[in-house]
């Protein structure tokens, strides 16, 4: 080591140290300046940024309103359902985890497929994906014990819609399904921020917004991965409104019991309020399948079933009304002055338009003899109504029958029903671009030809007869303002007279439903109908035995009970079942007896054990 100039070196290095200190000081001032800017001047901006980082507003779905029947029996409930969910981002090996689940609690191929479907659908990272629904407590325990081995798995308890009588009420109450983009466009978006289900049919659909309630908000603190650390504050959701509907679960069950597997539809209404007491379409399905998450194979089966269980016959089934509309046609004829109660005709068993060859035949080959309006209703004489229709003319007949609601959907909270066809010159021109032929007026007189109605339309039209002139629009939910229409007749007493003749359909020896009305403890009123499905040639005989089932006649019946002060209106259609008098009328009698006698017109509660049994029997039919 050499120390030649220690003094000069010391001066030099000390100088440099001082210069370096000044440089350091400059850098320190720079850092302080930056901190003043960050922490004091721009403080507010960064507070906002930091709050936006950690605080999230999470919408909370409101509990959906419950649905009860007219006696307060719970039809649609919310039950907590335990689900196994996965955060796939936290899983290293999806298939291994799925296999592990399968080994422990079972995972069907269908469940696997659904998992992958959900995985591929649009989702935010770190969103949960459902692996398995409806976990039993035991299954949950098996997985939970090994929870540390599957950090990606979580449990999730969400309320699930449960229908107490999934089969009985599927067509009336409807069901909930996953909300789709179309439906999302039609609802206030913020209210549905936390909702992923939507009423698909029936009451659930019609009263969706009422049942839904309003979304709640939770302000939560979340970490950088989006996991919620704690809840800061919460605005509770507004629960959906509970609904009590007019439906009577006992009457509904009775209808299914009587139908006993036969295809058809029954609509029961309270003529005083228009309330729908029963709305039955057979075959039916289990609404709970949809809320539990229906497997694609089960859905395929429902869709491809030739008997169309998903098809709501009571609302969408469009059937020729046949003779069931003869009482209404008769009243129209009286009102127009075309016929009088005292007018009589001779019925040779057919009708011919003047100067035409073609014979329009009566169902009774040899005719009814001397026929007045009363007898024409009681015995369902076709010839009388052919003649009356022709004399009235379609241009007067059609608008008058429109007053009963034919040709339009019934409105109110009944959604998705068909309008049917009320035949008229204008309708035919619009639909077929053809002129109206006189012969079409003839068959319109017996509710055939172009004429189609839905079961719910028939029930509604029948309320006008039951109420002697006041038509009640059907409604599901109680508490709505009744919607009615008074149909004015030139002679209002004709309403009562027609009701009496309809009574004789069941309670006089010649009545077409005399068999069904035999030995009744009370009086009821109604009208049979047998609707042709296939047209018959001029000389063909209808031969039920040799006609393929789906071309056989539909059996219809409309009626009300008791005949005076009625509390029940029914419209019944049995598909391809044959004659209305022999097939549909007994159904009416049984329904009516149940309502009027057993239930004391709805005053007594139904036998719930029996109701549950009927629902369970439908389940068994389903499983076959």
């Amino acid at each position: 080591m050499q120390y030649n100039h220690p003094r000069t070196e010391r001066i030099l290095t000390t100088q440099r140290v001082i210069i370096a200190s000044l440089g350091c000081l400059a850098l320190l001032i720079l850092v302080f300046g930056r901190l003043v800017w960050l922490q004091i001047i721009e403080h507010d901006r960064f507070v906002t940024a930091s709050e936006r980082n950690r605080l999230q507003v999470v919408p909370v779905a409101p509990p959906r309103g419950l649905i009860r029947d007219r006696q307060g029996i719970l039809l649609a409930d919310n039950r907590p359902e335990l689900r196994l969910v996965m955060i796939p981002e936290e899983s290293a090996e999806l298939t291994t985890v799925l296999d592990a689940i399968d080994k422990r609690i079972g995972l069907t191929g269908d469940e696997r497929a659904q998992f992958y479907n959900r995985l591929q659908s649009r989702r935010r990272p770190y969103d949960q994906v459902v692996v398995k629904t409806q976990l039993s407590d035991q299954d949950a325990a098996i997985i939970a014990v090994e929870g540390h081995r599957f950090p990606e798995l979580q449990f999730d308890a969400t309320p699930r819609r449960e229908y107490s009588f999934g089969h009985l009420t599927a067509h009336a109450v409807g069901y909930l399904g996953r909300i789709n983009s179309n439906e999302l466009q039609n609802v206030p978006e913020t209210r549905y921020a936390a909702t992923d289900v939507y009423g698909k049919l029936g009451v659930e659909r019609a009263h969706e917004l009422t049942l839904h309630g309003n979304v709640g908000l939770e302000r939560v603190e979340a970490n950088a991965r989006g996991r919620i650390m704690r809840v800061m504050s919460r605005d509770d959701p507004t629960p959906g409104t509970d609904l009590t509907i007019h439906l009577d679960i006992g009457l509904q069950a009775k209808a299914y019991e009587i139908l006993n597997g036969r295809r058809g539809a029954i609509v029961a209404m309270d003529p005083k309020t228009g309330g729908i007491l029963a709305l039955v379409s057979q075959p039916t399905f289990d609404a709970n399948q949809f809320t539990r998450g229906i497997s694609s194979s089960a859905y395929q089966a429902l869709q491809s079933d030739l008997d169309l269980p998903l098809f709501n016959r009571a609302l969408q089934g469009q059937y020729p009304p046949g003779s069931t509309i003869k009482p209404m046609l008769g009243l129209v004829g009286l009102d127009l002055g075309v016929v009088k109660w005292s007018d009589r005709i001779q019925d040779p068993g057919f009708f011919q338009l003047p100067g035409m060859e073609r014979r329009y035949r009566d169902w009774k080959r040899w005719g009814h003899g001397t026929v007045d309006l009363a007898k024409a209703v009681i015995e369902s004489c076709d010839t009388y109504f052919y003649e009356m229709a022709v004399e009235s003319g379609i241009d007067r007949l059609s608008p008058a029958m429109g007053l009963f609601g034919f040709g339009q959907t019934v409105g109110q909270d009944v959604l998705g029903d068909g309008s049917g066809v009320l035949p008229s010159r204008a309708w035919k021109r619009a639909q077929h671009r053809q002129a109206w032929f006189p012969g079409e007026t003839v068959i319109a007189g017996i509710g055939q030809g172009y004429w189609t109605t839905t079961p719910i339309q028939l029930a509604m039209a029948t309320t006008a007869l039951a109420n002697r002139g006041t038509l009640m629009a059907p409604q599901f939910v109680q508490g709505l303002d009744p919607v009615s229409r008074t149909i004015d007749l030139a002679t209002p007493a004709d309403w009562e007279r027609m009701a009496r003749e309809m009574e004789r359909v069941l309670h006089s020896p010649g009545g077409t439903a005399a068999g069904a009305g035999k030995d009744a403890a009370y009086r009821m009123a109604g009208k049979t109908g047998t609707a042709q499905v296939a047209g018959l040639g001029q000389d063909e005989e209808y031969d039920a035995e040799n006609t393929p089932e789906h071309l056989r006649d539909h059996a219809l019946f409309v009626g009300f009970a008791p005949a005076t002060e009625p509390s029940l209106v029914l419209a019944i259609i049995l598909e391809n079942a044959g004659s209305g008098g022999s097939q549909a009328a007994p159904v009416f009698r049984a329904m009516s007896d149940y309502w009027v006698l057993e239930r004391q017109q709805g005053a007594l509660p139904p036998d719930m054990a029996w109701v549950r049994r009927i629902d369970a029997q439908l389940q068994r039919v389903d499983d076959q």
Partner: protein, 379 residues
Amino acid sequence: MRALTDRSAGQIESFRPKRFSARYGIDPFLLVLLVALMGLGLAILYSASGQNTEMVIRQGIHCLVGFAAMIALTFVRRDIIYQLTPIIFAVAALLLLSVLLFGTGAKGAQRWLDLPGLPRFQPSELMKLALPAMVAWWLTRHPLPPRPLDVLIAFIMVALPVGLIAIQPDLGTSILIAASGFFVLFLAGLSWKLLGSLVALGLAALPVLWTVMHDYQRRRVMTLFDPTSDPLGAGWNTMQAMTALGSGGVDGKGFMAGTQAQLKFLPESHTDFIVAVIGEEFGFVGMAILITLYALILGRALVLTARADHSFGRLLSGSITLTFFIYVFVNIGMVSGILPVVGVPLPLVSYGGTSVVSLLIGFGLLMAMQRSNRVLSGE
């Protein structure tokens, strides 16, 4: 060497220096400041690690090990250090070379060396001290200021390890090591003319540097000018760190109550970005205390630098001190968004054993340079 045997001489008493640090090497003032800083660091680490006691204890052990090494170094005579310098530099250079050949990587860079029987370490840490010592050793062989030839040779000494570290790649460390060598040259009295042309050369080299930089390095530099340009990538760290600092305000959100850090929005919150935790939880006041602490350490170390009674000690001490300060500046600058994100820990506060131990060894060297050596000073 002769003086070592001269212990019995009566004049020893009169030679005995009056200052404590000159007598024992240990400077109590600097010692207290370092302990205070490490204490603060451990407290912050407790919060930043999410109350991970185990991690705090491990860091405490790192501090103790470093502390012991520092104290031990103060007992080493500075002429021994002086004499060992070329050997240590050669070893460090060889280790750097072997990292390139047999090193193990972390996050795409080869920086670590696994030597049997030794804990895994980064040879670049050793070079951080070996290089300035070597340059100081070289320059003090002749009277200062250095002659042009010595400067040139010193530049080659700097360029060799810097190049080796830059291709690992570890741009941050290589720049800091280059700086430590440069500080020696600066303190040795490098002429202003040369300094000026050096700065000009450096500016001219920037475009070249840009072309040899890795993509991720370029992105980091870019986000410096606009942190929002890559909010989910390189800009994320800076934005979250600035948010943490800024939202801390004047007095902070409170100990363990910083939402950015506790909810893990802040990346690397216990290592490179720990200063953001301080800023968030203790605010501007906390930052002022921290920076004042660093400033005091800097000031004291510079005073000690000036007091060292030999040029080698002054050059080495000065370089260690200035490099320490540059670490502080680069770290806080990067966290507060005035410098690009380079992997530089906050000295003595960030979690990590290697950094703490090597920094304390640096301070040990600095203190060792304080020891009065009769052999040297008497000559």
